[in-house]
C-alpha cells in the first residue's frame, strides 16, 4: 500500500446492520454485520478480502458497489462520498466500478443472448448507438475474454460455467472500468477452469490497468492474484497488509487459524493440530489496530479463544 497515488475507492469506518425478526409484537433485532471497516483500493492493484462465511465480505462488496447504504460510515469514490455524488459523478461511478458475482448461473439473464448481455451496458450508457459499431465492440469484448465471436447468438444455458463467467467478466469490462469488484468469481467453477479465469483476470490487469477487489475463501487463489489483503472476522478487519507480509508472518490468531486450516495439495503436509484451529474470540468494539510490520496492521486480539464448531 506504499503508493502515493490517491485511492480509487475508499471505505471509511463503514458499519452496517441488518434488521430481522420484526413483527407487530416485537421490534426488529439488529445484526451488526460490519463494524468500523476502513480500506483503500488503489489504481491497478488487487485487494483480496478473505474470511469465513458470516464475516461480512459480501456485505462489504455490496456497500462498495452502492447496492446498499451503510448504516454509518462512508464510501468515497475518487475522494467524493457515494451518497453525495452529483449526477455526472454518479454516472462515472457506475461506469468505473463494475461487479462480477460468484454464480455465473444466476448473474446472467437466461432469456438474453450473449450479444444482448454484452450490449446492455452500452445501451444503459447511450454509447455506440450505431449498430455495426456496437456489434464490433461486443465482438472485441468476446475476444478479450477468450471466447469465439460465433458464440454471441447463444443463450447462457448453452455455455459452460467457465464460459459464463467469461461473459460476466466481459460485461463488467464493457465500459472500461477502473475497478472490478469480484465476489468469489471462481468458487463455482471447476478446478481446471479456475486457472483459466485467474489468468484472464491477471492479463486484463496488465493490459488495462484495472483494479480488483477479489473476495475469496481460497487463500491460495488470493495469494496468487492479490497485492494486498484484508482478513475479516465477524464484521471487522482483523489483519491487513501486503500479501507477502501477511502470508509469510500472519500475526492475528484468526489469520493463523485460517492459514493452518487451509489444506495444501501435498500428501506429506502435516494435519494441523486442533489447537492451531482455535478461532480467536470475536474482536471487541474498542479493539485497536497496531502496525506490526510496514503497512501490515492487526487488530489487537483480546485474551482467550473460542471454539467455533
Amino acid at each position: 500500500m506504499a503508493t502515493i497515488a490517491t485511492p480509487l475507492l475508499e471505505a471509511v469506518s463503514l458499519s452496517h446492520s441488518y434488521a430481522s425478526g420484526s413483527a407487530w409484537w416485537k421490534r426488529a433485532e439488529s445484526h451488526r454485520v460490519l463494524r468500523n471497516v476502513s480500506l483503500s483500493i488503489y489504481p491497478a492493484r488487487t485487494l483480496g478480502i478473505v474470511g469465513e462465511s458470516g464475516s461480512g465480505k459480501t456485505t462489504l462488496c455490496r456497500l462498495l458497489l452502492k447496492l446498499e447504504q451503510p448504516t454509518s460510515g462512508n464510501v468515497l469514490f475518487r475522494g467524493h462520498g457515494l451518497q453525495q455524488l452529483s449526477s455526472p459523478q454518479q454516472r462515472g461511478f457506475h461506469c468505473d466500478v463494475q461487479a462480477v458475482f460468484q454464480d455465473p448461473f444466476s448473474s446472467l439473464n437466461p432469456r438474453m443472448t450473449a450479444a444482448a448481455i454484452l450490449e446492455e451496458p452500452f445501451r444503459a450508457e447511450g454509447l455506440y448507438r450505431n449498430r455495426t459499431e456496437r456489434r464490433s465492440q461486443v465482438e472485441s469484448l468476446m475476444r478479450l475474454v477468450g471466447l469465439d465471436t460465433s458464440l454471441l447468438g447463444r443463450y447462457p444455458a448453452q455455455f459452460s460455467g467457465g464460459q459464463r463467467q467469461r461473459i460476466a467478466i466481459a460485461r463488467a469490462l464493457a465500459l472500461q472500468p477502473q475497478l472490478i469488484i469480484a465476489d468469489e468469481p471462481v468458487t463455482a467453477l471447476d478446478v481446471s477452469v479456475q486457472a483459466q479465469i485467474m489468468n484472464l483476470l491477471r492479463e486484463l490487469q496488465e493490459q488495462r490497468g484495472v483494479s480488483y477487489v477479489f473476495v475469496s475463501h481460497n487463500l491460495n487463489m488470493v495469494r496468487f492474484l492479490c497485492h494486498d489483503i484484508v482478513v475479516m472476522q465477524a464484521g471487522r478487519i482483523v489483519e491487513r497488509g501486503p500479501t507477502s507480509s501477511v502470508f509469510e508472518r500472519p500475526q492475528h490468531p484468526y489469520t493463523r487459524a485460517l492459514f493452518a486450516a487451509t489444506p495444501t495439495p501435498d500428501p506429506d503436509a502435516v494435519r494441523p493440530a486442533p489447537e492451531a484451529l482455535q478461532v480467536a474470540s470475536i474482536p471487541s468494539d474498542d479493539a485497536q489496530e497496531i502496525e506490526v510490520f510496514e503497512d501490515h496492521w492487526i487488530l489487537m486480539p483480546n485474551a482467550g479463544t473460542r471454539n467455533v464448531v
Partner: protein
C-alpha cells in the same frame, strides 16, 4: 481383503433425445479400512457412480456392471434387500447437510429413524444411543442438540449430526460425497479430522468423493481420478501427487495454485469437459491433452500397473507421460 469391488460399472441416463453417458465402465476395489478419495470435476460421474451403487438411480438410469459389497452383489439385490444394507452396512454423508435434514423434524426424530429401521432398540435405548453418537462426533451437549431443529445448528454441527447418523449402525463402509465443500476451512479441517478418527476407532472403510486435490491429499491412502465417466489413474496418494502418469492428473496438480511456488501465471489446461451427451470414443481427455497420441483418440486405454511405479499405481494412458514431457521440451500448459 476387499470390501467393495466395482466391476465395469456403467450408468447412462436415457433422455427423450439421446442419452447422458455419466459413467462409462469403471472398475476398482476398496479394501477394508482403506481411505479412498475419488477426485473429479463436475460431470465426471464421481457422485453418480455412488448413487447408482446405492441403488438410488434405479428408476431413472440404466445401470450395468457388477458391484460386490462384502460378498453380496449390490446391483442385483431387490429394493428391500438393498434397504437393509443402506444405512446399516453402508453409511452415507451428503454434501449439503441442510438439504438432507428435514427442517421440520427434530434431530432426535431424524437420527432415530435409522435406529428404528435397523436395530431392535426401544425408545430409551434409541435415545441413549443417539446421545452416545452425538458425543462420539464431538458434540458437547448431545441432550440439548437432540431436541433442536436443523436450522438451530451451524453448518459444521449439522454435518456432525449427518456423520453421527451415518455411523449409527456401525457400517463397514462410509461414503462421504463432498462432505466439507459447503463448509468454512476451519470447520472443514475439523470434519476431516473427525472422519479420520472415526475411521480408525470404528474400523471403517471410507470412500471420499471430492473435487479438491488438497482435501484428497490430506486424508486419503489411495486416490483415483475420474474424468468423463472413466477412471484415468489410481494409486497410493504419494505416487499420484509426486509421480502422476496421466496427463489429466498432471494438469490438475499443476493448475492448483501452490503456496510454495508463486508464479505470474497458473499453468492451465485448455478447453473443458466434453458434453456428457456424447459417448467418448477413446480417451475422453485426448482432445485437451497435448501429449495425446493418435491411438488416444480411437481407443480407451485400460487401467494398468505403471511400469516401474509404486505397487498399485495404475494408469490409463497410451503415452508414457514422463517420456512425453521430456520429449516435448517446452511446457504446453504454461500460458
Amino acid at each position: 481383503m476387499s470390501l467393495l469391488q466395482v466391476h465395469q460399472l456403467v450408468v447412462h441416463f436415457p433422455l427423450r433425445s439421446g442419452r447422458v453417458y455419466a459413467v462409462n465402465g469403471i472398475s476398482y476395489t476398496l479394501r477394508e479400512r482403506e481411505v479412498l478419495a475419488t477426485i473429479g470435476e463436475s460431470g465426471s460421474g464421481k457422485s453418480v457412480h455412488v448413487l447408482a451403487m446405492l441403488g438410488l438411480l434405479r428408476s431413472q438410469a440404466e445401470v450395468e456392471g457388477n458391484i460386490i459389497f462384502d460378498g453380496k452383489p449390490l446391483l442385483s439385490m431387490s429394493d428391500r434387500e438393498l434397504a437393509e444394507v443402506r444405512g446399516r452396512d453402508i453409511g452415507y454423508v451428503p454434501q449439503d447437510p441442510m438439504s438432507s435434514l428435514n427442517p421440520v423434524l427434530t434431530i432426535r426424530h431424524q437420527m432415530e429413524d435409522v435406529l428404528k429401521r435397523h436395530t431392535s432398540l426401544n425408545t430409551d435405548g434409541r435415545k441413549e444411543r443417539c446421545e452416545e453418537l452425538l458425543a462420539l462426533v464431538g458434540i458437547k451437549d448431545p441432550r440439548r442438540v437432540l431436541t433442536q431443529y436443523p436450522h438451530q445448528l451451524s453448518g459444521g454441527m449439522r454435518q456432525r449430526v449427518m456423520i453421527a447418523t451415518a455411523v449409527a449402525c456401525k457400517p463397514k463402509l462410509l461414503i462421504a460425497d463432498e462432505p466439507t465443500t459447503a463448509l468454512d476451512v476451519t470447520v472443514q479441517s475439523r470434519i476431516i479430522d473427525l472422519i479420520l478418527r472415526l475411521q480408525e476407532q470404528l474400523g471403517l472403510a471410507v470412500l471420499w468423493i471430492t473435487h479438491d486435490l488438497a482435501v484428497a491429499a490430506s486424508l486419503a491412502e489411495t486416490v483415483q481420478v475420474m474424468y468423463a465417466g472413466r477412471l484415468l489413474e489410481r494409486g497410493p496418494v504419494r505416487s499420484i501427487f509426486r509421480d502422476p502418469r496421466n496427463a489429466y492428473t498432471y494438469g490438475l496438480l499443476r493448475s492448483t495454485p501452490n503456496p510454495t511456488s508463486i508464479a505470474n501465471r497458473l499453468p492451465q489446461m485448455k478447453g473443458q469437459l466434453p458434453p456428457s451427451t456424447l459417448f467418448p470414443i477413446g480417451d475422453p481427455f485426448a482432445p485437451r491433452n497435448p501429449f495425446a497420441t493418435e491411438r488416444c483418440f480411437a481407443e480407451m486405454p485400460p487401467l494398468v500397473q505403471v511400469d516401474g511405479g509404486a505397487r498399485g499405481h495404475e494408469v490409463a494412458a497410451w503415452y508414457d507421460l514422463p517420456k512425453a514431457i521430456a520429449l516435448r521440451g517446452d511446457d504446453p500448459w504454461q500460458p
